[in-house]
Symmetry: C2
């Protein structure tokens, strides 16, 4: 039996890339009276349950998933947490 390992991937637009979704949220928050919001960036979080026992190997596999599917590395950056 293999243990289950949890991985959490954050995918955000790169810093120079315009984020209209985040900007829309910022504007909506202003409309609702939240005046102290200076900037908003919105991204995705993907939680994976992996059948794996080795943390380093799991991280390598998740990195490959990010490069191939989860992130568009032209405009997006990603970070991986294995728990």
């Amino acid at each position: 039996m293999t243990a289950t390992m949890k991985a959490r991937v954050h995918v955000m637009l790169k810093d120079g890339v315009l984020d209209p979704q985040g900007e829309a949220v910022r504007h909506a928050l202003g409309t609702l009276g939240f005046s102290g919001v200076e900037a908003v960036r919105q991204g995705k979080v993907i939680e994976l349950d992996l059948a794996a026992t080795d943390k380093a190997a799991a991280e390598v596999e998740v990195k490959a998933m990010c490069e191939k599917l989860l992130a568009n590395t032209v405009i997006e950056k990603y970070s991986i947490e294995i728990a």
Copy 2:
């Protein structure tokens, strides 16, 4: 001058709620040859830059933002990190 505080909000579907987007990602990963993926849940991450100095007050304000706009609390749960 007020300092800037960063807040990160995670919005995920509640555990009992079907997540077709996560399921689509799981299926696509399987198609790509990643066989060890048992479950995938996909959610949103929202990063806010706040003009605030008090961490506790910022957390209260972000919680209000989640309840009013960022999360649909009928089907979604959220968590807040203030940095």
